[in-house]
Symmetry: C2
Subunit: 422 residues, 2 copies
């Protein structure tokens, strides 16, 4: 057997009992003849608790110090996990991101990995030990300061180490047993996807599926790391994310699933003069504040006024900042008014070969219409159709689309996987 990289999220190591259970799984993997490198997140709500402490002492803590603070979380979980494994008779050594050679840029709070030099991890593995590595953290190349990769960064750490060490598989353990065709909390008949391509998984993650972090999927695709998303509470196979699609029959459109996202807001810029450069001025204003916008729609210009409306979506968390920036640029851009709506949701259908099958769009919009869902914005890619609708319409929209594309599990299957939540 070869090298297996396993990543355990915060809920898998939330308390001493769970840490001991995870230790048993790791030791079993080792005893089956594998070398094992483990990436671990902070226990349960540790990170939120630490952020709470930080806001008590400073309204706007400096990024360097916030990273120093938050990285204590994985330090605790990784040391406890190493102890629990040691107690089962196999020596485990824990390593910080810095010790594991996770080199990043200097952007505190959302650093990007620029190199991985896992010399000490290799040494530990070659000595027959299990290496436990702190997820989410690294050290900056220039200043040698501690950095963090941002929320969900432990997935990225796991994939990056799997790539650098040419692991056979990167197993992502979580509290669900894989990627589903829809959120089982909304669609009780959603079924687990056994295999999905990097591209489809990227679209799923970008459209709101929270099982895997978007950056980790990008990283896995770039280095061809096979990722296996599975539950830390069962031995069942989960979802494999690889280059190969699920089926051989490429002539049929292959629908992976329905994703939804309630984390965005919509800004409408009303009465924009319909002349070249106006849209660019608006989006430059927002981009200058380092805010990512997602979907954009521009209405047909009204002949009488020579003006048009432009709507776009962006993370709710950036909403107030974007509104302030646009208001400040009002005279320069010359629009009439701003509207802000954070009661929206995005529903997306993801699947390969979608564009070449016109029937897909027709069926998608028929299902939404039959369910009485009013569509506000539409966006498509080669393997995705997304719409923005009212927030309250999201459950009906997801269910309708899921059924229309025959993604519902058969009855027996649904009884096993459906009603269990995630």
């Amino acid at each position: 057997m070869g090298l297996v990289v396993q990543k355990y999220g915060g809920s898998s190591v939330a308390d001493a009992e769970r840490i001991k259970r995870v230790a048993q799984r790791i030791v079993a993997t080792k005893k089956a003849g594998n070398d094992v490198v483990v990436i671990v997140s902070a226990m349960g709500d540790t990170t939120d608790d630490l952020i709470g402490l930080a806001t008590q002492v400073s309204p706007l803590p400096p990024g360097r110090e916030l990273d120093m603070l938050l990285t204590s979380g994985e330090r605790i979980s990784m040391a406890l996990l190493a102890m629990a494994i040691g107690n089962l008779g196999i020596e485990a050594l824990s390593f910080t991101g810095s010790q594991a050679g996770v080199i990043t840029d200097s952007v505190h709070g959302k650093a990007r990995i620029i190199d991985v030099t896992p010399g000490r991890i290799r040494q530990a593995i070659e000595a027959g030990k299990i290496a436990i590595v702190a997820g989410f953290q690294g050290v900056s190349q220039d200043s040698k300061d501690i950095t963090t990769l941002g929320r969900g960064g432990s997935d990225t750490t796991a994939v990056a180490l799997a790539a650098a060490m040419e692991a056979e598989v990167c197993e992502i353990y979580t509290d669900v047993d894989g990627v589903y065709t829809a959120d089982p909390r909304i669609v009780s008949s959603a079924r687990r996807i056994s295999r999905i391509t990097y591209e489809e998984m990227l679209e799923m993650a970008a459209c709101g599926a929270k099982v895997l972090h978007l950056r980790s999927v990008e990283y896995a695709r770039r280095y061809g790391v096979p990722v296996h998303v599975r539950s830390s509470f069962t031995d069942r196979e989960g979802t494999w994310v690889t280059f190969e699609p699920e089926r051989d029959d490429m002539e049929q459109p292959i629908i992976s699933g329905v994703a939804h996202d309630r984390s965005e807001a919509k800004i409408t810029v009303v009465g924009v003069p319909d002349k070249p450069g106006e849209a660019a001025a608006i989006f430059r204003t927002v981009a200058d504040d380092e805010i990512n916008i997602d979907m954009i729609v521009q209405n047909v210009s009204q002949a009488a006024t020579g003006r048009t409306d432009i709507s776009f979506t962006l993370p709710k968390t950036d909403g107030q900042q974007a509104m302030a920036a646009l208001n400040a640029a009002r005279d320069q851009v010359g629009f009439e008014a701003l509207q802000y709506d954070d009661k929206i949701g995005k529903v997306s259908l993801i699947g390969a070969g979608m564009r070449s099958h016109p029937g897909v769009s027709a069926r998608f919009f028929s299902a939404l219409a039959d369910a009485g869902v009013n569509v506000q914005i539409i966006s498509t890619s080669e393997i995705r159709i997304s719409v923005v609708c009212g927030e309250d319409d999201v459950p009906a929209a997801v269910s309708a689309v899921h059924s229309a594309f025959e993604l519902d599990a058969e009855d027996e299957f649904a009884q096993v996987y459906g009603g269990t939540g995630r």
Copy 2:
């Protein structure tokens, strides 16, 4: 002004409010024109909580992993303190023991400092910033693993950095306002000592005074670092620990104070053959288990049997291990029986010029006799007399000796400092 090193203990940074108060004190020191390096312990009971977690996952956690775990404590407090200072308008950077250049040997849990290379601290200070350094921790020279200096190690970190950076003073902030002539919880009329020599402070610390850690005093004496022990809750001067004694009049014995210690146990080896090498065999047996013994007494040999009894004291925490080692060596050493007593206490009188003033011993033992205290073991040094008595006799013994040497504060003074506890 010059460089001031300040050390704040766990109770001074136990919650967000206290951290903000400590931040104000640090900023005030900086604004008074000083460069400031701060050493900080883990918040309140963090270390005990982490040890509790460790014992939940492993009965005997490996030292390397325990050190990795415990060092997360200072990481939290130092980052929060840096944030709180930043919020007051002065930039502060936090550094782990490793980043601060605290190089140690590889003995996890009680590592010794072998070098201090504070290049990054100097850089921060020269850039006009305040440096916050994690106490208690370092990095091993050989394996580059994280180490801890043992309980109270933050005092040692502070003194070591003050020495390496040639600070004007090392201020140790704690929840008492200095070193007292006796524990104020026992002697309500105890008074604060304004100045004490390294030697006397060493004896006080070795004999149970808990304000300063023994190793930090040894370190301070070796490098001549002036130490100022003071309260983080007031601006009053505390106790200065330096080379110079309190008074100029060297012809009078100068009594510093009365210390007591309830942390030791007594082992009596009964019926030891009275011939050369027997005592050595006993103490070698104990020393082989790396147990430090403190006071020793050997009874006069009984002519009839040719045997004697040897008693010694040692930390209670090592008691069971020492008894097991001695029992195992019973045949080899040839004693008759072992007795174990952990209901003992040690009371010590510390002061310069004691040996050359015979009246001191006489007054000491008269005071104990008048108080009805039965003395079990006696030990003396140039500047100390210690006795072992029953645990229950400790308060009476301390009070009697304190009064006999006229250490009691005058009434008005006692009202201010006496009854406040420590």
